[in-house]
């Protein structure tokens, strides 16, 4: 746990006084303090290309009056700096007449341990694994022309001090291990990427030579792509594999169900609460409480404990994801979804681990039922226009389906669909729900936060595949 006032001319009680004085007659607000330490070690082109360490310290001071948010941040935790921020907030909110909401939910549950993953493994051990990865992949095939592997580790300590002095804190570990491999055969080059991660030590993910299975998966994807042919263009049936392809759920409906867009009525979902937005059998939740997952949080960045929020239940839209501001303005409660990339940014309602729950079909059944379509197994990233509802995601491993059988691999292509209607096109939900390997980062308004996704295999009746073969 960080003591933010230890090396400062500002004492905790002085800070509390400035906070309470600044926020009186505001509806909400807090001082958010953050101390993060992170490392990155990169092997590329047969060499350790980069070993770097970052230490970041700062605060963000927020005051809210009705719909208006005033925010000021700085790296210097000092009396002067906090007073300057207080003046900035007061000058924006000239005539406030609200009542501060002291209420905040409490919980003793923790979803990860207080560890610093960076310190738990020596630099030499990390460098050794990266070199082993490089040698292992290059020895597997002479088609391997490039290997990139890296470790990213972080420990982030946060503290939230509310008006009146109530203090909430959390220490968040996070790691990620990634491997990318490029193959070349007869002048043609293709890459495969795979990774693992979450809120535990490096060793939890890498023990017993588990790094080899990460390498094998990256190599397998690259090998498949080396044999791929041009993807088809046009509308067809799509079978999605379980796990990471759930970024479809994240893009197609997740963003559109975030509180801010619905309060502002700019989401394609804003007037659909209580209505049928998905086929029967489709249930989607956003869960911050799964132990050690990348998207899990003990408390969100406003201090609210996270929870398991049901977004869509058996096809019916049940809840939006809320932070305190949007919850108050929409007369509901925070779902513990208030997040920010770091102290430089304001809080927004964001996803945590977004999951579609299992149904009772098998993947085999789905593929058998398709005459002409594609089977998409692995994805790069996605994006959505929440207003029109149109979303895309990019396949990195996909196959054609011909007469109920999986055919040749096809080149990476973008798939496009319409968020509010796509879930009504889901005609089978698989019994094989799987979490992603722990590598997702979601971007919104220039802020990246770690998230997770999960889903079973699903069959979508109609989606547009953006290939080149007419």
């Amino acid at each position: 746990m960080s003591n933010f006032f230890e090396k400062s001319d500002l004492s905790r009680s002085e800070a509390e006084n400035i906070i309470s004085e600044t926020l009186q007659k505001c509806d909400d607000g807090e001082l958010y303090l953050e101390n993060s330490k992170s490392e990155s070690i990169l092997l590329d082109d047969n060499k350790i290309k980069n070993s770097s360490y970052n230490s970041d310290l700062g605060f963000g001071f927020r005051a809210i009056s009705d719909e208006v948010v005033a925010y000021s941040h700085s790296n210097e935790i000092s009396k002067n700096s906090l007073k300057q921020s207080s003046e900035n907030l007061k000058s924006t909110l000239k005539s406030v007449k609200g009542t501060y909401n002291y209420e905040i939910a409490k919980s003793n549950k923790k979803y990860y341990e207080n560890i610093n993953p960076i310190e738990q493994k020596s630099l030499n051990e990390k460098i050794k694994i990266l070199n082993d990865v490089n040698n292992y992949l290059r020895s597997k095939s002479d088609k391997v022309k490039q290997v990139t592997a890296n470790f990213l580790g972080e420990q982030k300590s946060v503290e939230i001090i509310r008006s009146g002095g109530e203090t909430l804190s959390d220490v968040r570990p996070l790691i990620r291990f990634n491997v990318s491999v490029m193959l070349e055969k007869k002048g043609r080059k293709e890459t495969g990427v795979y990774g693992v991660g979450g809120r535990q030590s490096y060793d939890t993910y890498l023990k017993d030579d588990n790094w080899k299975s990460v390498c094998d998966e990256a190599l397998r994807i690259a090998s498949v792509n080396l044999e791929s042919k041009p993807a088809p263009a046009g509308e067809m049936k799509v079978v999605l594999g379980p796990g990471w392809p759930a970024i479809l759920i994240h893009e197609a409906v997740g963003h559109g169900l975030e509180g801010d867009f619905n309060r502002k009525k700019t989401s394609a979902f804003h007037n659909l609460m209580g209505q049928k937005v998905a086929s029967e059998g489709v249930t989607i939740i956003d869960d911050g409480t799964i132990d050690n997952r990348r998207g899990s949080l003990t408390i969100d960045d406003e201090g609210t404990p996270t929870e398991k929020t049901v977004l869509i239940e058996n096809g019916i839209l049940k809840n939006f994801m809320q932070d305190r501001l949007n919850a108050r303005l929409m007369k509901t409660r925070s779902t513990g979804s208030g997040r920010r990339e770091n102290y430089r940014h304001i809080v927004l309602p964001r996803m945590r681990n977004t999951m579609m729950l299992s149904g009772n079909h098998t993947q085999e059944e789905m593929i058998k039922s398709v005459d002409k379509g594609i089977f998409a197994v692995s994805f790069g990233g996605g994006q959505v226009d929440i207003t029109s509802g149109k979303f895309v995601f990019n396949c990195t491993e996909a196959y054609e389906i011909v007469n109920g059988k999986i055919g040749s691999p096809i080149k990476g292509a973008t798939l496009i669909g319409d968020g509010p209607s796509i879930l009504k096109e889901v005609s089978m939900v698989g019994n094989d729900m799987m979490m992603d390997p722990g590598i997702g980062t979601c971007g919104k308004a220039g802020q990246g936060v770690p998230v997770g996704v999960a889903q079973p295999s699903i069959l979508i009746n109609k989606m547009t595949v953006g290939g080149t073969k007419l």
Partner: protein, 438 residues
Amino acid sequence: MVKDQEFLKKKSAYCLDLAKKLGATDSSVVVKNSVSETVNFRNKKLDESNRSDDLGISITTYIGKKKSSISSSNLLNENLNVLIEKCIETTKNTPEDEFNSLPDRDLLAQEVKDLDLYDDTQIENDQKINYLKKLEDAASNDKKIVNTESSFTQNKSNFILANTDGFCNGYKTSSFTASSVTVAKDEKSMERDYEYSSKCFLKDLDDANELGKLAANQTIRKLSPKKIGSEKIAIIFDKRIAKGILSTFASAISSSAISRGTSFLKDKVNQKVFSDKINIFDKPDMLKGLGSRNFDSEGVKTDTLKLVDQGILKHYLIDTYNGKKLNLKSNGRCGGTSNLYFENGNISFKDLLNSNSKSLYITETIGHGSNIVTGDYSVGATGFLVENGEFKFPINEITIAGNFKDMFQNIILANDLEFKYATNSPTMLIEGMVVAGK
């Protein structure tokens, strides 16, 4: 106020000295301060104000051919002592790489020209609010506009880059940015679009009224879009999308992609990559240019490069490390391009629209569908069907796809280049791409 040169120089000298004392044979340091103030409006009312004061330092230390780096936002000497010690320790334990080094001394920038990148004007929040009121009034004039979100940001930055070969330089820059995002609605659809203006000098910023009107018009014209069938068709890229294709070209000729062998443009220097008429420049010394700079992020001088001359690729974008690997000298492109642009083509925008009886005019793409290893391109798109030079109706939920190797050979440019961003292109036509729709 943004920290002055003297403060930044003192910090950088402290770090270089300490690193040397602790055993570094070479080191370099960047100290930055950036202060920005933003006001956001929504539906003609104040929505958010945001002030940020960011300090940052990053230090790279070398012991012979070993290298490591640290960065921090905490500039107290006490913290820097701990970090630099850690950095030296890590450097010792990192394997050697024969290509690690500071830039060649004779390539370091000698003079720093005043490129007119800093405007001392301070625009107070009340003035920002006045600008945004005017902008949002113009943006919400039409009843079809149901939501407006606009923003005004003033940013002032200062930095010093120093290394143990005696380089120590930096300068202030400023930017003033206004933007407006509008949402329009009719019975069938809801659409969003935007307009934006960013300048080094406040007085050059677009008129609030004009910006608001443009944002609204660009959104309203997207209402009630249709989906079209899949076909091979000519695509016209609006300038704001065409510049993205130029950025992809820039990433494909970065010396890091070339030296790693992960670019479809590897070994293509002196070969014809674009059609004859295409010329591409990267010009760092444009006055008030949004991408202008006196030297790159290693301190290497930057000259104007004609990257593509009549379709022929002439240069990669080279930094010190990858240059040494490729046996080439750095051309001052560590950190990428500066003011990158396609030279104007020789037909008007109108003639470009008329050059095919039927084409698609693309105003927005979504997704990360550019693969620089293979050159494959596939993205979601929004735009308009153009027939005989006329905009017929809006289109969405389609994808466009092709391969850059073919696309580059088929580019035809209009003569309407403007310098609105750091990377700029005239309106661009590419024939023979595939649209996937119904």
